[in-house]
């Protein structure tokens, strides 16, 4: 589902952001991608949603390979993978429903179907009653739910989340995590970048992949689940 094979990403000024990183997240798997600031988490996610291409190696996600996908075709990938960001990236001045519907409209879905599906997804993330509210009037947790609903509209096979709980309080973070776990339980692969160790500790069953200065430092799956705590240190 998600696979990095010997991926190196080098920037002209910054140098190597990723150095020979390989890991795989299977269908239906949930993994945390962790590490300090500058460890390469965001670069990994950028490569995965093809906002950027690796200098060496190959990134594969939902059947799309970085070697075969051109920038002009990225839209195809983006309809198969859901993305969630720390800063929500919602359209201000529009309602929760409009924000979710927007992602469907851009794919050319018929208008009637758009509203029906957007409403259903808002209900799924527990926001049916807030469909008509402007997103800037919603709490951080609610905004992240709207952004999750938007990520799910095209029924993606994998969900990539970049510090989705970074701007949320503990209660809202837990709510989002439960939502992700629920989606994962239905078979969706989830890769969630976070540096929140408390959160990682709270979910001992979830795989941890740790990056350090652009290199793979730890993978609880490779190390065996009993060894997982090492990744949190």
């Amino acid at each position: 589902m998600i696979k990095l094979s010997h991926v190196t990403k080098e920037y002209p000024r910054r140098g190597k952001a990723l150095d020979d990183v390989s890991f795989e997240v299977a269908k239906g798997e949930f993994a945390f991608l962790t590490g300090h600031s500058g460890s390469g988490k965001s670069t990994t996610l950028r490569l995965l949603h093809m906002a950027d291409w690796p200098t060496e190696g190959e990134v594969r996600i939902c059947g799309f390979s970085s070697e075969l996908t051109s920038p002009r075709e990225v839209w195809k990938l983006r309809r198969r993978v859901g993305f969630i960001f720390q800063d929500f990236r919602l359209l201000p001045g529009r309602t929760a429903l409009q924000n979710v519907a927007f992602a469907l409209e851009v794919t050319g879905t018929p208008r009637r179907e758009v509203l029906e599906r957007a409403n259903r997804l808002l209900a799924q993330v527990g926001l049916a009653s807030k469909a008509g509210a402007l997103v800037n009037e919603l709490s951080g947790g609610e905004q992240q739910r709207v952004s999750t609903a938007r990520a799910l509209v095209n029924e993606p096979l994998a969900l990539l989340a970049d510090e989705p709980t970074g701007n949320l309080d503990e209660r809202a973070s837990r709510g989002i995590m439960e939502l992700f776990r629920d989606l994962n339980a239905r078979g969706m692969a989830v890769l969630m970048a976070t540096h929140d160790l408390e959160l990682i500790r709270a979910y001992p069953g979830i795989r941890v992949i740790e990056l350090n200065q652009g290199r793979l430092a730890f993978d609880s799956k490779a190390a065996g689940s009993g060894d997982r705590d090492r990744g949190e240190g």
Binding site: R89, L91, F102, V106
Partner: protein
């Protein structure tokens, strides 16, 4: 359909942005409009003066009819010549009487008509140049029955020079104003697009194709340009009307010019949007 809905929604969400951009476009095109009115009127005035450029051929009293007929036919056959009118000695006297009533007595007492017969040659527009006039005059003066050829060579030269300077000034200034207007429109559209960068980014993130992202922005750009164009036409007309009633009479520019101005506003808006959006689509 989505593109139209989205463009309308965007305008309703941020009408101030559209009004400001359209106002910038309108001001840029307003300058072009004023220039067009000035140029058109100058052109018309010169045209009216130029209509008076003609060649007058005075004929000898002993000119033979046969030769005169040949001369007339020869001149009428020239590319430069629009019309040849023959005035007899009597016509000349009648005209002199009408034009100079103060010499009425003098003309009445004449035993012999001293005024010569003449041919007045009107030229085709485009040939009312020093060269055109000289060619016609040159051809006529070969005929022995021609006494003299007058064509006001000095003022024809000056008029022609004025017209050439006018033409060059129009082309250079017009191009400069047009370029400035295009730049201002491009800037206005880019500012409007910059305000919506985030939206473009999000559209790309959720899998919109470039074409899909582009369409509402192109529509908005074209609309901004068109509104600006219409506004500038209104402003130009208001200024024209004010000058025409308060200062001196002016001619309003042909409707084709107005339509061209408004349509080019829309086109500029469209092209500027296309360039600006392309930049964002590459960046994000």
């Amino acid at each position: 359909m989505y593109a139209i809905r989205e463009a309308v929604a965007a305008i309703r969400r941020a009408p101030v942005l559209l009004v400001l951009s359209a106002a910038m476009v309108a001001l840029a095109l307003y300058v072009v409009g004023l220039f067009a009115v000035a140029t058109y009127n100058l052109h018309e005035a010169l045209g009216r003066i130029e209509e008076r450029v003609e060649v007058v051929i005075y004929l000898r009293d002993d000119a033979r009819d046969e030769e005169l007929r040949l001369l007339e036919e020869d001149l009428a056959g020239m590319d430069e010549v629009l019309r040849v009118r023959h005035f007899t000695k009597d016509d000349a006297l009648a005209r002199a009487r009408a034009d100079l009533p103060e010499f009425e007595d003098l003309f009445r007492d004449l035993d012999v008509n001293p005024l010569p017969a003449s041919l007045e040659v009107e030229l085709v527009p485009g040939f009312r140049t020093p060269e055109g006039v000289a060619r016609v005059a040159g051809r006529a003066s070969i005929y022995p029955s021609v006494e003299d050829v007058r064509y006001g060579d000095e003022w024809v030269d000056r008029l022609y020079l004025l017209r050439r300077i006018g033409g060059i000034a129009t082309a250079v200034l017009g191009a400069a104003f047009g370029a400035v207007a295009a730049l201002i429109i491009a800037t206005a559209v880019r500012i409007a697009l910059f305000a919506r960068r985030e939206e473009i980014l999000i559209m790309r993130l959720v899998g919109a194709t470039n074409g899909f992202i582009r369409r509402p922005f192109l529509l908005e750009g074209a609309l901004t340009g068109l509104i600006g164009g219409l506004l500038s036409a209104a402003l130009t007309y208001a200024s024209f009307h004010a000058v025409s009633t308060l200062i001196f009479r002016l001619e309003w520019i042909p409707i084709e010019w107005v339509v061209t101005g408004v349509v080019s506003g829309g086109l500029f808006g469209l092209v500027a949007s296309a360039f600006a959006i392309q930049k964002y689509l590459r960046e994000i």
